[in-house]
């Protein structure tokens, strides 16, 4: 008989961390509130990353007023492919990916046509704070549209797969890659039906995959197996993630990266309250690692050493 639910002690034994515990024991303890603006505002994050030499998608422009939105045409003439996102958006909301242009008509990543007016309206919505936390007025960022590595082509349906690494006190504790599906409309959002594939920190191989909290082996749209795939540039990815954690100073951090065909791993955004799906994708609870590292008095300064610690702790 299939279990409909798990008992709390079973989850406890499996080391699963719940939302409440994450909030009370890790976010509140290790993430000082004054650092939140650095990750909640993507413009600040980007600036910080550029200063620290961390690779990010190039920023084309920042739209801050209705006037700038009206004068958007020269920008669009210059860049026919771009991503428009709110500086203070959350959960991937309000992101518009424009993937091409045919005369006056633009197309979204999904292939749907979009007019310049619609692009302006989207920018205006972003500025008015529709996607920002608490509805504050916001800025719209126009940036380089990542050309995703063809490596992921056979296990992705449109959209850009992204890689999330959870870094705790500068030590990676878990990672997964989020693969868009037809259902998720090309978005790498697990709640909308994207697939989460756990990654072995030591080797960079994908392990298990979950779709809507259920284990799957084949991509629902491409029919390809998704386990056991070696993520390219894995060491570089881990170094990038650890570098982000060191730069921003948050103790419990989710680093979102993409693999660009030409530029390699790029940091997309940082998250001070990363979700818990990474546990499902890895079939492994986070608590064991988190507890182990939270008991350490001293964390090594050298990033390579921390990565080695993380990798040896897994096996």
């Amino acid at each position: 008989m299939k279990m409909r639910f798990a008992w709390p002690w079973q989850l406890r034994k499996a080391g699963i961390m719940g939302i409440n515990e994450r909030n009370a024991d890790f976010i509140m303890r290790f993430n000082p509130r004054r650092l939140y603006p650095l990750v909640d505002d993507k413009l600040k994050t980007k600036q910080l990353a550029i200063d620290a030499g961390i690779a990010v998608p190039e920023l084309y422009a920042v739209l801050e007023s209705e006037h700038e939105i009206q004068e958007i045409m020269p920008l669009l003439d210059k860049h026919s492919e771009f991503v428009m996102k709110p500086a203070q958006g959350s959960g991937g909301n309000g992101i518009l990916v424009v993937g091409g242009r045919l005369g006056k008509q633009f197309t979204k990543a999904s292939g749907e046509p979009i007019t310049v007016d619609q692009i302006r309206h989207h920018a205006s919505n972003v500025l008015s704070g529709m996607y920002s936390l608490g509805g504050h007025p916001d800025k719209a960022l126009l940036e380089y549209r990542v050309r995703f590595d063809p490596f992921f082509e056979h296990i992705t349906y449109k959209g850009v797969p992204d890689i999330r690494v959870i870094v705790f006190r500068g030590i990676p504790v878990a990672a997964m890659v989020r693969l868009p599906t037809r259902e998720s409309d090309g978005k790498a959002n697990l709640h909308q039906g994207a697939i989460g594939a756990g990654i072995d920190l030591a080797t960079g191989h994908t392990t298990f995959c979950v779709h809507h909290n259920q284990e799957v082996t084949l991509h629902p749209d491409t029919g390809q197996p998704m386990s056991g795939i070696q993520i390219p540039h894995w060491d570089q990815i881990l170094r990038l993630a650890v570098g982000c954690a060191d730069t921003v100073g948050l103790g419990y951090l989710g680093v979102d990266l993409v693999m660009d065909q030409y530029l390699g791993p790029l940091m997309l955004e940082l998250n001070a309250r990363p979700g818990l799906n990474v546990q499902l994708a890895n079939k492994r609870g986070l608590l064991k690692s988190l507890r182990r590292w939270s008991e350490l008095e001293e964390i090594p300064k050298c990033p390579e050493e921390r990565i080695r610690m993380a990798q040896s702790a897994i096996h």
Binding site: R4, L11, N20, D25, R29, N93, N213, Q214, Q279
Partner: protein, 511 residues
């Protein structure tokens, strides 16, 4: 950033709040007699003293002893009914006297004193501390008899209490010896008998006095005041029945006055008559408690919400339920894990449901939000800026409410008018939030969150309209401290949410 986990004082604060809140409530219910259920009824006795006399034509003055300290009973109401008489009351130690006076009194005069009392456990102490009496010069052979009895009693007793008990036993024995006979002959009624015992007790310097009162058991007329004996043991007064020797004030004995003062005194009149009658009735316990607490010397009784004007009371009746809804909200979100639109939106909807009733409210809410959503999807195509769009939705919501009211009013359904009480801003925000979630995360998520909000609103409604909870919150507002303690504790709840038990169900298999 420290790696060491600091021990949080939350638990301590929560405990302090819980204990304080529950402690005050316990004190109020146990010692002030405030009932913990709204239906509880109390027996109330109304005692009426009818005082009549014939005026002689000149000035008349009448003093009447009225109950002041009434152990075992709480005075609820006191009325002095006297048409032409001027009234003053004076309090002396443990007694209170009503003085009626009139310039000219001719013919039949009638005065009433009316008192209602209810039982109470609240302890009442008498203030009089007596001096030790002088040993009187008893006349012989009476003195000899007293001394003989006192000697007998002394051998069989240890302290004032046992001494008095033993003395009463000997004086009231079935087979009296000649000494007892001698003393008994001197008293012809209970009043004289009490005074005789007091006199005997003076022989061993035990301070004693009489108290007067009546048995309030059933409704009856022609009630007589009867005396009881009290002796002072150095700390407090102990009461005895003068013939049976039973210790303590009987449960149904209402103390009217203390000491030998006459019940009533009249100057300038004749044919003085006092008649007592008792009526029993039932009142709501809370009403009894409300009246009674005015007279109690308790801070907690004074700061009762029941002392406020009725309109303010009604405001607080609602206000005090909101924290309860908020705590329910916290529970459903942190412990159960239901997701809703906005943090407190469901609670505001629940408050609106209070006015519209549940089913009607649910229907109205669903209708307005559905139509609003459809219009909102059209507005999306017009590409309006956010704030004007919100204002437009708000106006559409009000329009919808108006239309629904008109239609239903035409059908003669009055209650639909209460839809105007729906928080329209909340409705507009709900529509906006729902449409964004709809677009961003799909119809499924939007429906799920919308449904979750409605479920929470329904539960909030059921909790916030619960008669019993309303009563408890209103009469024991210190429950707010308890609610605060509970939310502090839930603020440090780090266990799994119920929804997580389902979400991570597959993980139970792994280690």
């Amino acid at each position: 950033m420290s790696a060491k986990k600091k021990s949080s004082p939350v638990r301590m604060w929560a405990m302090i709040l819980l204990i304080t809140g529950l402690g005050i409530a316990f004190y109020k219910s146990e010692f002030l007699g405030i009932p913990t259920t709204p239906e509880a009824q109390a027996e109330v006795w109304t005692i009426q003293a009818r005082i009549s006399f014939k005026g002689t034509g000149g000035p008349a003055k009448l003093s009447f002893s009225v109950p002041y300290k009434t152990p075992g009973f709480l005075k609820l109401d006191e009325d002095f009914i006297s048409s032409r008489f001027g009234l003053t009351t004076e309090t002396e130690r443990d007694n209170q006297v009503a003085n009626w006076a009139v310039r000219r009194a001719r013919g039949d005069q009638l005065l009433y004193y009316r008192l209602s009392v209810a039982r109470s456990e609240y302890p009442i102490e008498w203030s009089i501390k007596p001096r030790f009496p002088e040993v009187p010069q008893y006349e012989e052979p009476y003195g000899q008899a007293i001394r003989a009895i006192l000697d007998d009693v002394r051998q069989a007793s240890a302290d004032v209490e046992s001494y008095t008990r033993e003395l009463l036993a000997q004086l009231n024995t079935q087979q009296p010896n000649e000494n007892v006979e001698l003393i008994r002959k001197r008293a012809t009624n209970q009043e004289e008998w009490v005074r005789e015992i007091i006199n005997v007790l003076k022989g061993v310097k035990i301070p004693a006095r009489e108290i007067w009162g009546m048995t309030v058991q059933d409704a009856r007329n022609n009630v007589q005041l009867t005396p009881l004996l009290q002796v002072h043991n150095g700390k407090r007064w102990i009461t005895y029945h003068p013939t049976s020797g039973a210790q303590g004030i009987p449960d149904d004995y209402l103390v009217w006055s203390v000491g030998q003062n006459p019940l009533v005194q009249l100057e300038g009149g004749t044919d003085l008559k006092v008649e007592f009658s008792i009526v029993k009735s039932y009142q709501e316990l809370i009403e009894v408690a409300r009246k009674g607490t005015y007279q109690l010397d308790s801070m907690f009784a004074r700061i009762s919400l029941l002392a406020l004007p009725v309109e303010d009371q009604n405001v607080f009746r609602l206000l005090l339920m909101v924290p309860l809804g908020a705590v329910l909200m916290v529970f459903l979100r942190t412990v159960v894990g239901i997701s809703t639109f906005g943090t407190f939106m469901p609670i505001l909807i629940a408050i609106a449901f209070r006015e519209t009733q549940l089913v009607l409210g649910l229907v109205m809410f669903t209708v307005i939000v559905s139509i609003g959503l459809m219009i909102r999807f059209y507005l999306e195509r017009l590409m309006l800026l956010l704030v004007p769009r919100l204002a437009s939705i708000l106006i559409i919501v009000v329009l919808l409410m108006l239309v629904i009211s008109f239609i239903t009013n035409g059908m003669g359904a009055e209650r639909f008018l209460s839809i105007a009480l729906f928080p329209m801003v909340i409705l507009a925000m709900t529509i906006e939030r729902m449409s964004i979630v709809w677009e961003e995360n799909g119809a499924g998520t939007a429906m799920k969150e919308g449904f979750g909000s409605l479920v929470v609103a329904c539960m909030g409604y059921l909790v916030m309209t619960n008669e019993y909870l309303m009563y408890i919150m209103f009469v024991f507002p210190e429950m707010l401290l308890v609610l605060l303690g509970i939310s502090l504790m839930m603020g440090r709840y780090t266990g799994y949410r119920l929804t997580e038990l389902v979400r991570f169900k597959d993980m139970a298999k792994y280690k």
